[in-house]
Each structure stands twice: as C-alpha cells, then as structure tokens.
Symmetry: C2
Subunit: 178 residues, 2 copies
Amino acid sequence: MHETGTTIIGIMRISEGVEWAAHCCLLLDWMGRGDPETAEPVSTARLAAGYGLPPAYLNKQLQPLVKAGILTSTAGKKGGFRLAKRLADITLMDVLTAIEGPDEAFQCAEIRQHGVWADEPASVFRAPCAIDTAMRTAELEWRRALAAQTLAAIQANAELQAPGLRTQVLDWYAHPRT
Amino acid sequence: MHETGTTIIGIMRISEGVEWAAHCCLLLDWMGRGDPETAEPVSTARLAAGYGLPPAYLNKQLQPLVKAGILTSTAGKKGGFRLAKRLADITLMDVLTAIEGPDEAFQCAEIRQHGVWADEPASVFRAPCAIDTAMRTAELEWRRALAAQTLAAIQANAELQAPGLRTQVLDWYAHPRT
DNA sequence: GGACCTCTACTCGGATAGGAGATGTCCGAGTCTGACTGG
DNA sequence: CCAGTCAGACTCGGACATCTCCTATCCGAGTAGAGGTCC
C-alpha cells in the first residue's frame, strides 16, 4: 500500500476583492444612513479597519468599482468613497463584473480547428462549438442568478439574521477607537 | 484628454484542461464506436495530434479524469485512455469537478469576523454570511445547469450541426497520416 | 511445432522548470481644511 | 472683523515588488507484444 503523494489540483477561484467590495458597499450604506446623496465619504483606512484588511490593497480593489460607476471617490483631506447608487440598484453581478472583468469564465479556444479538422471547410465552423454552447448556457444561468440578487436584498437578509448589529457597528465607528 | 493607461483587470478563468478533456471524451467515444466495453485504448499522442495539443501536457490534464472514474488508463505498448462510462452518464459538471476540483469558485473568507465585529458574540456568526449565501445560490444554479448537460447530448448537438464530420474524423485517424 | 524467456518499444504517472496573474506595498498628484495675514 | 492667501496633511490613483498557481516539459516505472531459443 504505497500512499500516492498526489498534489491536490488547483481550483478556479473568484478574487477575494469581490467579497471585500460587496462588504464595503453594505458598510458604506450603513454609514451613509441609506442615502447616497447626503452620505459623507469614508476613507479606505476606516473601511479597512472595519474588516481587518490591508488599507492600500483595499484601495486598489475598490478602484474598479469607481470605474464601474458603483462608487464615487473624493480626494482631499475629508475624502474617501461614497456609494454612487442605492443598494437596490446594485446587483452582485455588477460587483463581480467590475472586479473580475466582463469576460466569461470559460474561454473556448476552438481547439477543434487545429489538428484533424484543420482541413475541413470553413463552413463547418460557422456553427459554434457544442461544448462552448453548453458552457455558455450554464454560465448564463449563473450570471442571471447573480443579477437577480441586489445588495439591498442581501443587506435585508443580513439585518434579519443579526438585528442589532447595524447599531453596534455604527457605534464602533462613532467612538474614536479603544 | 489624457487617456488613462490603466491595465485591464484580471479575469477568473476556467482551466483550458476542461475544454481539452471534454473534447477528448467526445473523440474517444467516436473512436470506440460508442461502446466503452469494446473500445481499444487511444494514446495521448494520437488524441493530442487530433487537436494540435502538446501531448505531455494533455496527458497531465487527463490524469484527473482517471482518478474521477471518467476515463480508464492502460499502460504498455498498446495502452492509452478509454472511457470508463457511457457519454450519457458523464456530465459537464463531472468533467469540470474532476479538473478544477470540488471547491466552489467563491470562497468566503469571513472577513466580517475581523476588525469591527471581532468583539461580537460568537452566536452572531452562526448564521452564514449573507453575501456568501447569495453567491452560493448563484453558483448552485450554475452547477445545476452543468450537471444537466450530458456529454451525450452535447455530442448529439455537434453531430446535428456537422453531420458528416464523424466519418471524416475516423477516416483521418484510420489512414496513417499524409 | 510449441512453450518459455528475454528484450525492446511504447504507455502512463509524477517530479521538475517556466511564466502569467493575483496579492501586497509604496510613493506622487491633487485637493480640502484650517490657520495666518493683510486690509 | 473679514476676505484672500498659503502651508499642511490627508486622500485616491497608479507604478512597483512578491508570491501563488497555471502552463509546459521531461524522465522513470511498468507493461504488452514481438522475436528468438530451447525442448
């Protein structure tokens, strides 16, 4: 019995920046009392402190959200990030697309066009690769489900499961720091 | 107008090995005439030649499929890979799980437990993170759609779109090589 | 002629390099605040 | 007292390292078959 020392295989992973971004949006909404218009900017330092994250890297992760129109950034002494929309108008799909990019996870390399099939007439390849089609279909379901989840709904669930949390967090931020 | 030279953001990508594996399964079924029992092994060299892929790397990519029970490998002079099941019993989900691993794409790091919420009672975290829940829901839809697609169905679609292809490919493999 | 043995050619399997992308850090451009100065 | 000016400190934004993981290659263990040899 020779236990094979096979290394575990790598997994495709979503960047942790997605999780950070989503949490920050929820926190920004709390700190802005639900109204992006009257909300004051929150600096990366304060956001990062709230989750124990490296401030500079969090700043880097939030930048794509600004470009995507989810957040608004303000420079200067009292600058920081604000929500650009209401939570009800932001979906998980928006956040993921902003950070991971618009491309699909499965990229068909059209390997069928090399090797054996290289001599086939071009008309054969007008129809899309059947594997690619199936993958796209599944991925479309995934994106549809992501687009159906707004951050507002997620926040509602969170507050439902931990009712007093919002107030406590705001208190923590209000008091300078122990 | 100072065109910002921002680098494009990275995208989460599914390993190309998934595409290779799926194509090889379809090809193996063709070469085995649809019956895994009577099928003769096909070496990586022949499979790789069919798609213009690096043989050694393709071999490495197919190994997880053997461990997952999708393929069977035979060593020796007339060795190679055979299908371990019928295409109707293999789903895209099986292939993807075999290569990418069983873990989910979104890994919740529970960042809510650091920073502000560190002092919260542990009972608060019994309920799963709302963001994680939403992500899991969406990913479940994706996996469900993948599991609904059998390789047999995909092969049927491919043959429907290019009726004569199967015979031509088998001919290409039958004749030594020009 | 037939059975056995050896030898070779060929296979997969895993260990080993190389490269791209994600992770993490740092410094500069810009700007808002606040105090200072002059009227 | 008030408006204008200026210095300062703090912000984001992007350029610069580090590190993990995917990509790619190579060599060894093992096997099936062919051929030779002996009975």
